[in-house]
Symmetry: C2
Subunit: 672 residues, 2 copies
C-alpha cells in the first residue's frame, strides 16, 4: 500500500516548522551534547549504532510495533544470538551489549545471564566454583538466571519460602518449593532460556535455618533444552512492557544438587554439615552492587526520558491547532502556555537527570576508592542518596513519558509515536530494585538517624546530606536571599539553601512526630514527601556540581543556568504547600512571584526547546517514532507506517473476514 500520487504539499510544511525552530538555536547543539551526555555513553552508543547499521536486517526496529509477543521474543532471540557472536568475535564488549540493549530498547532473553547470573558468581563463588560455573557461563556453555523473587514474596528477601536443605547421607542439597507461594516468579531469562538458575533459598542444615543463600540449580538440559526431573518451569505470560524478555516461573520438587552448588564464599557447609562463615560479606560488595545498579537506573531514566521529550517537543513544534490572535495560520501547539508548562519543565528535569547521572556516578566512584582503602564512612549516605535518586528519576521518568504521550494528543496513543513502547519498558523501574514507596524509607531512615545524631551532639560523617542538616538545625541558618524571590532568581547558593532548608525542616518535623510517639507506619506519607524533598535538593545540587565543571566562559553556561533556575522554580511551584509550612513560611505573594517567574522562564526556554532536545543526541533509529523524526516529516511517515500494517496488506485474510463476518451481517436476515 502506498500514498497516492498527486496530493498537494502541506503548507506550511512540518519540515520547515522544525527547521525554523532550529534556526533560532542560540548555542551549538554538538557542544551541548558533549557536555550533557557523558563521553562513555557517547562513544559506546556511536560504536553500537555503527555496528548495527552494518546489519540492518538483524537489528531492525521498524517492524517491532506490528509484532505479537512471540514474534517480539523471536526478534530478541535473533538479536541476542548475534550480539553474543559479536562478543565472541571481540567486536563488542559486555558493556557494549548493555548499551546495545538500551539503544534498541530491547531487553532480550540473554540479559539476566550477563547482568545477574555472572556477577553473582563473580562475587560469591569460590575459586573452585568459578571454574565449575563461571567459566562455562562466560563461554555461554550454560545460560543462567537469578531466581530470587517468589510469587508471594517481592521486597522481603528474608521471607522467601524456597528451601535448600542439606542431606548429609548423600552430601547434597535438596532444593524445594513447598507451596505455590514459593514459586519463583518474574525471573528474567528463566521463561524459555536458562539452563541454570541461581536460586535464592532458605538454607537449612541439621534442622537449623541460616537465611537465604544462593545455590546453582540446573533446570534445563544443555543438550536438548528439556526441563530436568523435578523442575516445573515456564514463561509467565504477556506483560505491560518488556515482552522481549522471558520472565518466568519455577517450581522445584525436591531437586538434588551437589554440595558444591551452594555458593560458598560467604557461607560454607562442609561434608557432614558443619556451617561456617569464612568471610564476612564485604559491605562494598553488598551495598556497592546495589548502588551501582541504581547509578545505571538513573542513567537509563535520563536516556529514556530524552527519547520521550525529543518526540514530544519536536512534534509539538510542528503540530498546529487553532489560529492564534496574531496569525492567519494555526499555531504550533508548543506556543500554548499549557503545553509549554507540561513540557518545558520536563526538559529541564531531563537535563538535571543527565547532569545528576554524571555527578552521582563520580560520587559513587570516589566512594568506592575510599572503600578500597578501608574507609566505609561514605557508604550509608551513598546508599541513601542512591535510593532517593532511583525513586526520583524513575518517578519523573515514567510520569514524564506519560506527559509526553498526552501532549502529543491522540497521536501519542498510536504505537508509531514510540512513546507507548518507551513507557511500557520503562515502567518496571518504579517497582524493581526496591519499589519506590519502599525505597523512600531507606533514604529517610538515614536522614532521621543523622538528625538524631546531630540533636544529640554526636559526630556525623561529613557529606552533602549532613552538611545541610547541620546548617539548618536546630534552626534554619538561611542565606539572606532565600526569602527574597527576586534575589532567589539570581543567587544559586540561595536556591540550594532554600531546598535544603525545606528538606531539613521536614526531617526535623518528622523526628519530632516520631519522638512524640507516632508509629513508623503512621508516618509513611510524610516519609515519602521528605524523601522527595531530600532528592529535590540532591538533584539540584548535582546539577550545579556538573555545571561547575564547565568553563565559566562557555557560551553554554547561560542556557544551562536558565534550565537550573527553571527547575528550581518548578520544584517550588509544585510544592508550594511545603513553602507555606516552612518554619519561616512563604507568603501567598511570594508564591505568586515564584509562579510568575516560572512562567517567564518557561517562555524563554521554549525558544530553545528544539535545540535543547536535539542536544540529547538521540538518533532516528533509536527514537523509532513517526512523530519525533529529526527531519520533521511527520505525517507522511506516520501514514506510510500505517500502510505497512499487515491488516492492510493481507488480501487473503481480508477475504476470509469478509466471508466469515461482514457478508453475513451485510447480507443477512433483515432487522426491520
Amino acid at each position: 500500500m502506498q500514498i497516492p500520487k498527486g496530493l498537494a504539499p502541506m503548507v506550511p510544511s512540518t519540515e520547515d516548522a522544525l527547521a525554523a525552530e532550529r534556526s533560532k538555536a542560540a548555542f551549538k547543539v554538538s557542544d551541548m551534547h558533549q557536555f550533557i551526555v557523558d563521553s562513555d555513553m557517547r562513544t559506546k552508543v556511536a560504536k553500537v549504532e555503527a555496528l548495527m547499521g552494518e546489519e540492518p536486517e538483524t537489528f531492525s526496529l521498524r517492524k517491532v510495533y506490528f509484532m505479537s509477543r512471540q514474534e517480539k521474543m523471536e526478534h530478541a532471540l535473533a538479536i541476542g544470538k548475534r550480539l553474543i557472536e559479536l562478543l565472541k568475535e571481540g567486536k563488542l564488549s559486555g558493556d557494549d551489549i548493555s548499551i546495545a540493549d538500551m539503544v534498541l530498547d530491547i531487553n532480550g532473553p540473554f540479559g539476566l545471564h550477563r547482568t545477574m547470573f555472572i556477577p553473582t558468581l563473580q562475587n560469591q563463588a569460590t575459586v573452585e566454583q568459578q571454574e565449575l560455573f563461571l567459566r562455562p557461563a562466560l563461554n555461554y556453555e550454560i545460560l543462567g538466571c537469578y531466581a530470587q523473587t517468589e510469587i508471594g514474596h517481592g521486597s522481603n528477601v528474608q521471607g522467601l519460602e524456597t528451601t535448600c536443605t542439606y542431606v548429609p547421607e548423600t552430601d547434597e542439597f535438596e532444593v524445594h518449593s513447598p507451596s505455590v507461594r514459593a514459586c519463583k516468579w518474574w525471573i528474567g531469562s528463566l521463561g524459555v532460556t536458562a539452563t541454570h538458575a541461581m536460586v535464592m533459598a532458605q538454607l537449612i542444615v541439621g534442622g537449623k535455618r541460616h537465611g537465604p543463600c544462593p545455590v546453582v540449580v540446573p533446570i534445563r538440559s544443555t543438550v536438548d533444552h528439556q526441563p530436568l526431573e523435578g523442575v516445573t518451569v515456564g514463561d509467565l505470560g504477556p506483560k505491560f512492557g518488556f515482552n522481549t524478555m522471558d520472565n518466568g516461573f519455577l517450581l522445584l520438587n525436591r531437586v538434588r544438587v551437589p554440595r558444591i552448588n551452594l555458593l560458598q564464599r560467604y557461607i560454607t557447609v562442609s561434608p557432614g554439615g558443619k556451617v561456617s562463615r569464612p568471610a564476612n560479606v564485604d559491605p562494598k560488595v553488598a551495598y556497592g552492587t546495589m548502588v551501582y545498579v541504581r547509578t545505571q537506573i538513573v542513567r537509563n531514566m535520563s536516556q529514556v526520558l530524552a527519547k520521550a521529550t525529543t518526540v514530544a517537543v519536536r512534534y509539538a513544534a510542528v503540530r498546529r491547532q487553532f489560529k492564534s490572535e496574531s496569525s492567519a495560520l494555526e499555531s504550533p501547539v508548543l506556543d500554548y502556555s499549557m503545553v509549554q508548562y507540561r513540557l518545558i519543565p520536563l526538559v529541564a528535569q531531563n537535563y538535571a537527570m543527565f547532569a545528576t547521572s554524571q555527578a552521582f556516578l563520580a560520587h559513587y566512584q570516589r566512594s568506592m576508592v575510599e572503600m578500597d582503602k578501608g574507609n566505609f564512612a561514605p557508604l550509608k549516605e551513598l546508599h541513601a542518596t542512591a535510593c532517593g535518586l532511583k525513586r526520583w528519576t524513575s518517578d519523573v521518568g515514567v510520569a514524564g513519558i506519560d506527559t509526553c504521550r498526552h501532549v502529543c494528543g491522540g497521536h501519542g496513543f498510536s504505537q508509531f509515536s514510540g512513546l507507548n513502547e518507551f513507557y511500557g519498558n520503562a515502567y518496571p523501574n518504579i517497582i524493581w530494585e526496591g519499589d519506590n514507596y519502599v525505597l523512600s524509607q531507606q533514604t529517610v531512615r538515614y536522614l532521621i538517624s543523622q538528625v538524631r545524631a546531630l540533636r544529640a551532639g554526636k559526630p556525623v560523617a561529613e557529606n552533602q546530606t549532613t552538611r545541610y542538616l547541620q546548617r539548618h538545625m536546630p534552626q534554619g541558618q538561611l542565606h539572606a536571599a532565600a526569602f527574597d524571590v527576586s534575589q532567589l532568581l539570581v543567587q544559586k547558593e540561595a536556591q540550594l539553601d532554600l531546598l535544603a532548608f525545606r528538606s531539613a525542616s521536614m526531617a526535623s518535623a518528622l523526628v519530632d512526630a516520631l519522638d512524640a510517639g507516632r508509629s513508623w507506619n503512621h508516618s509513611l506519607v510524610d516519609v515519602q514527601r521528605l524523601c522527595d524533598a531530600h532528592s529535590d535538593f540532591i538533584v539540584a545540587s548535582y546539577f550545579r556540581q556538573h555545571l561547575d565543571t564547565l568553563d565559566a566562559q562557555s557560551p553554554l553556561v547561560p542556557h544551562l543556568e536558565k534550565l537550573a533556575t527553571l527547575l528550581f522554580l518548578y520544584t517550588l511551584e509544585q510544592h508550594s504547600a511545603d513553602l507555606f509550612r516552612l518554619p519561616r513560611p512563604f507568603t501567598p505573594e511570594m508564591v505568586a512571584q515564584v509562579e510568575r517567574a516560572l512562567a517567564r522562564a518557561i517562555e524563554e526556554v521554549r525558544e530553545q526547546a528544539v535545540p535543547l532536545v536535539d542536544a540529547f543526541g538521540i538518533s532516528d533509529f533509536r527514537l523509532n517514532s513517526a512523530l519525533g523524526r529529526s527531519d520533521g516529516k511527520v505525517y507522511d511517515s506516520y501514514l506510510e507506517w500505517a500502510m505497512e500494517d499487515p491488516l492492510n496488506n493481507d488480501e487473503g485474510l481480508r477475504r476470509e473476514w469478509f466471508e466469515k463476518y461482514y457478508k453475513p451481517v451485510l447480507h443477512g436476515k433483515s432487522r426491520l
Copy 2:
C-alpha cells in the same frame, strides 16, 4: 501444563484472608450495590452477562491476554457479529449492546456504526435521506463510520481541510483530500469495516465556503468489500489500547457523490447550487448530544475504575509483605498506611463518581425536559458542568487505574492483573470528546462569564454554579464552621461551602488577572486549576445530592457519610496550597488538622474496604483478573493462567528456537 501435585497448601491462605475481610462487613453489600449502581445499569449488566453465559465460546475473555492484534480484531468481529444477530433476533436492544461492549471491555469494529453513523443520520438527515441511508444502516445493509478528525486536525473542526465541492454540471459533490494533512485519521470502524463514511468536509458551493458539513461517501463495495475508485483506506495500526477497534485512515481523490449525500436538514444545496439553511441547528441537538456523550463517559469511568479498585483492594488484602511489630505473620499490604493512602481515597472517589453519574444524568434529563418546553436557560451551565466532569472523572479514572497497578507491585505489570488492559482502553477518555486540557477552557469560560455578569449586577440563570458564585462574591459569605476543622468534619454544609469558596475565589482572581490585561494564553495554568476546583465542588455536591435520596434511617448512611467526608478531606489535603491562598487563608495548623483527620478517616474506611468494592458488583467474568478474583484464590489462578501461555505449550516452536538460537550459543565457538 499443570501445577504439580503434592504442594503444601499456603498458610495462611489468600482465600481465608479475603473471607476474614468480608466477615468484618458492617453493612449489607447487596443494599449498597443497589444504592450506588443505578438500576438501569444493574438490570442491563445482569441481562447481557446471563446471555453471554449461555454462549461461553463466543464471549470468552480468558484468552484475550495472549492474543495478537489480529487475533483481537477477529475475536471482536466474532463477538460483534453475534451481537448483531442477537439484536436482529430481538434478544438484545441497541442499549444492551453498548452495555455488552462495556462488560467485555471490547470495543469492536461495528461500534461507530451504532454510536456515530446512525445518530448523525437520525439528527441531520432529511426524511428522504433517512429512507436512503438510515434504513439500510439500521438493517446493517451498509456499515458506517464518522470521519471527522484528520491527521493534522484534532480539536479544531473549523480547520478541517477535506473539501466537498458542488459540481453543478453533474449535480454532484466532489469530496477530496487535498494533502496528507487532510487524511482522515483515528476514525473508528473505518480501518477494515465500514462501507460508508460520514465525512465531515468543508462545503464549497460556487467558490464560496460554508464550513464543515457531513456528507455520506460510499468507500467500500457492499458486495465484495473492495475499496471503491478514488478511495485510499486502511487501518492505522496498533495502539496503546483499543486494539479490538479498527481505527482507520481515509484519503479521497476527487470522489463524486450525488447531491443527496450531503445531509440536508440544517443546510440545503439545491440543484444548480443555491445554498439555504432550512432550520437552525436545534441547540438541544448540538449541545444535548455532546452532554449526553459526556454523561456516558462519567458512567464508564465509574465502571472501569471500579474494576481497578476491586482488583487492587482485594489483592492488597491478601498479599502479605514483611512482618508487623505485633504478629508472627507477614502483614497484608492493605495494613500499611502508604498503601491505604493511595487506595482508600480512590475508593471514595469511585463512590463519588457512581453517585455523580446518577445525579448528573438526572440533571441532564431535567434539563432536556426544560429544553423540550423551549427553555434553553440550563444549557450553558449543563455544558460547562459536563466538560468539567468529563475531565475530572477521566483524569481520576485513568490515574486511578495506574495507582491500582502500582499498588499491586510487580504483579500489576502482568497482563493477568487485568489492570493494563483496563488502563489502555480507558486512556483515550482523557483525549477524545475534547482533550481534558482543552475542555477545561470551556468550563472556565462559563465561570468567568458568570463572575463578570454578577460583578456587573446583571441577571444570571439560577443554578448550582451561579448560586455558589453569588454567595461568595464579591466576598466570601462563609458558613461559620468552614474554618474550624473539627466542625468541618461533621457539618456537611460547611464542607460544600468551603469547596465553593475555594472555586469562587479562584474564579474571582482569574477574572482580576484577565481584567488587568493578562492574556488567555498566559492564564491557562490557572484555568486548569480553576476547572478542577469547580469540579471538586460539583462532584462533592452531586455526591451529597445522591446521598440525600437515601432514607436518613438507612444503615448505609454512616458508611456513605464517612466516604463523603474522606473525599472532602482528601480534596483539601491534595490542594492544601489553595487553602493557604484563600482570601481567608488556612493556617499550617489547620492543614495539619486536616491531614490528621484524613489519616483517621482512611484507617476507619480501610476496615470496610473489601465490602465497599464488593458493592460495585463487578463479576469475575468482567474483572478477568487473576489478582482480583472474588474467591481470593490468587496465586494458583495466576500460575494456571501463566501455564496456559502458548510459549509454554508449543513444543514445535520451542524445538525450533532451540535449534536456531540456543544451540548455536550453547554449543558454538568458545569465547575463552
